[in-house]
Symmetry: C2
Subunit: 312 residues, 2 copies
């Protein structure tokens, strides 16, 4: 085996009440990460364009392997393997960078999984750690809330970031309507808006909503998940970064959404709904357009995580 291709999906971190802990894997969009053994030591990176460009991205992905999340993740595994080989990575971005949908995490997981496959590393915890180190290059801090659902699929709860202690569960069949506005948010800036303290009653509410979401995931109760998909910590602090947030939220509920929240640190927003998914998506886009913000929407469902789709 000299070459592998990995498909690594978008993810919703901070899912509802689970700031810094919950993550949901989506079925699409995905990044494609191709890794090939090379005689030249170290990591090199190139990018491929895809026919359908990902939704408007204001970001450029660095191809310097020390600054690219896929490169850093792959490099970490290369170092661990002790093998005297090189890797060439070709990145095809299907997830819009800076969208709040775990774009940098997907590339990191893709790079890690592809490298692991080529280098014969099977331990998922090692792959998770390498992915997290890769993702940290982009976000500035090691967080597992995007890399975990991207690697494991389904719904994940990070119990301990340092210990790589993650619980995985399989969500019920459901549809998520995701709307991406053309707004630029830096994760580091969004992070600074989170208050250092919260009222105890809000902390209590978050624990009970988080419990409701886990119960809903385990028992297949989408209505319970939607009802508990609330956030009184990150959303109130961050919604000011998303022009038109309140209007878009109202439009989503008016169109039949059961919930509305921010994906990761935004700007993407999403709703759960049992029907009228396209109508909800269009309503969100129109509400953004009314306040002068371009937007797109797509409908996804929970996904199964990153996987090797080709070996040569």
């Amino acid at each position: 085996m000299k070459k592998v291709v990995v498909k690594a999906p978008a993810t919703i971190a901070n899912f509802g009440p689970g700031y810094d802990t919950f993550g949901l894997c989506l079925s699409a969009p995905c990044d494609l990460v191709e890794a090939e053994l090379s005689d030249e030591k170290g990591i090199s990176i190139s990018q491929k364009r895809i026919e359908k460009e990902p939704l408007k991205s204001p970001w450029r992905i660095p191809t310097d392997p020390r600054k690219n999340t896929a490169g850093v993740a792959a490099s970490e595994l290369l170092r661990l393997s002790g093998k005297k080989t090189g890797l060439h990575i070709t990145l095809t971005k299907g997830i819009s960078a800076g969208s709040g949908l775990g774009s940098s995490a997907a590339s990191a997981v893709g790079g890690a999984l592809a490298a692991a496959e080529l280098l014969g590393i099977g331990d998922k915890k090692i792959i998770l750690a390498a992915s997290a180190r890769g993702e940290a290059i982009s976000s500035g801090a090691q967080h597992l809330d995007n890399v975990s659902p991207c690697l494991f699929g389904g719904f994940t709860v990070v119990i301990d970031h340092d210990e790589l202690d993650v619980i995985k569960m399989t969500p019920p069949e459901m549809r998520i309507v995701i709307c991406q506005p053309a707004i630029v948010i830096k994760t580091a800036k969004a992070r600074k808006l989170i208050p250092e303290h919260v009222p105890t009653r809000i902390s209590i509410a978050h624990s009970s909503w988080a419990s409701g979401i886990v119960h809903g995931m385990k028992s297949g109760d989408v209505r319970l998940i939607a009802r508990c998909l609330q956030d009184e910590i990150a959303v109130p602090a961050r919604k000011r970064l998303i022009k038109g947030f309140d209007e878009v939220r109202q439009a989503a509920f008016d169109a039949g959404a059961l919930s509305f929240s921010i994906s990761g640190s935004g700007p993407a927003v999403y709703s759960l709904a049992q029907k009228n998914h396209s109508r909800i998506g269009r309503a969100m886009v129109e509400a953004f357009e009314k306040v002068g913000v371009e937007a797109d929407f797509f409908i996804s469902k929970p996904g199964n995580g990153a996987k090797v789709i080709r070996k040569e």
Copy 2:
């Protein structure tokens, strides 16, 4: 039917990270509440002694039906039923009042369930509401975290106290070692010690521990439950009310406990463990005695909730 007897068990509220939301029903000890139709309108109450007195209780249970939790709960249902009858209640306390083991909630649930049975009220939400009103007479505020597990059994999560929105799940087979020291704590005073704000990182940790506990309950993972049975909100604020807390905690862990926490607002403390339950209980008692506090211990398992055990 003229008379019913209900057995209503002890409960652990504030279970680990679930302050004001999680509750676990125990298999024992229980209060016995006997209710009998009477020609005399309104509610009257008497108390029976039991052969084995409950563990040292510093509290007297009022027999004034407007101040007794069973009386208030039963009275609420009598009012709702619109029936022109009276009820006589005989209360046999098996749960030590003021222990932190949901003594007043058990009497309230017992009174409500016995009255509901006699009056032909079957709706559990109405019985829950009446129980909560009864319990509020003792604690000063309407909280569902003891009455819910006592009425429904198993492990309960209160999503919304006002909406009586409660999730119930069945815990795995496990043993809980409970130690009751002869210390007096007033719930209202213990409540005042809870800080108004908490660090956001602690709120995040609580949400992830709460998620781990729910996942553990649903998947039968006792080790995960024990690992997530942590509390950085109530326990640090309240442990000063329990003389010897740190020493008893250490003794429990030294004897093999997997976790250690305060039941409700205390003074009872408890541990989960997979073996050596008696050794852990004795170690707790000895550690309390070393600091001059009398104590007892008992071992319980999750229970199935209040039930009618006799009808005449």
